[in-house]
């Protein structure tokens, strides 16, 4: 340790150093290669200065701003959902029939369409079944002979 450091150190222990002198002394002691209790002390102090929280702090201002963004986003989503539902109901309203006679007629036509389709299938199936029965009849005829 040189004389300048020693002088500063003595002044430091007497609590007569200015903040600038203390900073200078801390730099000098940090570069000190001697493993004395004094250099350990200054190193320990500088380590205390490096303590930081494990998790950062929430900025209350940003948190409140975030809250407003959340409110704005919720309102926008709400408006979109309501307008979507309104549009959906409006589109469906075009197909609504309020007159019971007209509704009956539409239902009857729809059912007719379904039943016609079913009958077509039935006819087609019966023709196929007749074809399928032919060999059976032929075989049974042979057996009878």
């Amino acid at each position: 340790m040189d004389s300048q450091t020693n002088q500063l150190l003595e002044k430091y222990w007497r609590a007569e150093t200015s903040p600038e002198e203390e900073k200078e002394l801390k730099i000098l002691m940090a570069s000190d290669t001697e493993s004395s209790a004094c250099s350990h002390y200054f190193k320990a102090v500088s380590e205390l200065k490096q303590q930081e929280p494990e998790f950062g702090f929430l900025n209350p201002g940003k948190r409140i701003r975030m809250m407003w963004y959340t409110v704005a986003a919720s309102v926008t989503i709400g408006i979109l959902v309501v307008s979507g539902l309104f549009q959906y109901n409006y589109t469906n309203a075009e197909y609504n029939v309020n007159d019971p006679d007209k509704a009956f007629e539409i239902t009857r036509q729809a059912l007719m369409m379904v039943s016609n389709g079913l009958n077509e299938g039935k006819n087609y199936t019966s023709v196929q079944l007749q074809e399928f029965n032919k060999p059976k009849e032929l075989l049974s005829g042979n057996n009878n002979k």
Binding site: W13, R14, A44, E47, L48, Q51, F57, N59, P60
Partner: protein, 169 residues
Amino acid sequence: MSKELFDTHIIPVQNKMYRYALSILKTPDNAHDVVQECLLKIWKNRHMIATIDNPESWAMRITRNQCYDWVKVNRFHLAEMHPMDQADTYHTDENLLMSDRQAWLKRIINELPVKHREVFHLREVEELSYQEIADILSLTLAEVKISLFRTREKIKETITKIDAYGLAN
């Protein structure tokens, strides 16, 4: 306007506030919670920042008051807690050495009276001026100087003993 003042004057000192709270409360989680509460409190009174000469000292004083309020409310809980012990997190030789140094310094600091301990932290760790320390702790300038002198005298005495006999006490 006050929002900008909060961001420029208070946010940069939040780690200082944390270290100060940690030096009083000893446990990182409690120190973190207290500082978060302080930030919220300061945010609610952010209109005052423009009227205050030294917002940093003001924030530190709020931190101190909040810490002692916390101690008052949790004094029974506090008695059951152990001081911060980070030994498990240190593995390398350098970290072990750092851990030893920290433990040694903490033992010296913990032997000091509370007022001396706070003056020591604000001067040595946070490098505040005598006037700022006096403002935060509501002391006179002379009291701060005497407190710091006695603390350093005690530390020098301990260091001399260690160098002479290799003893920490």
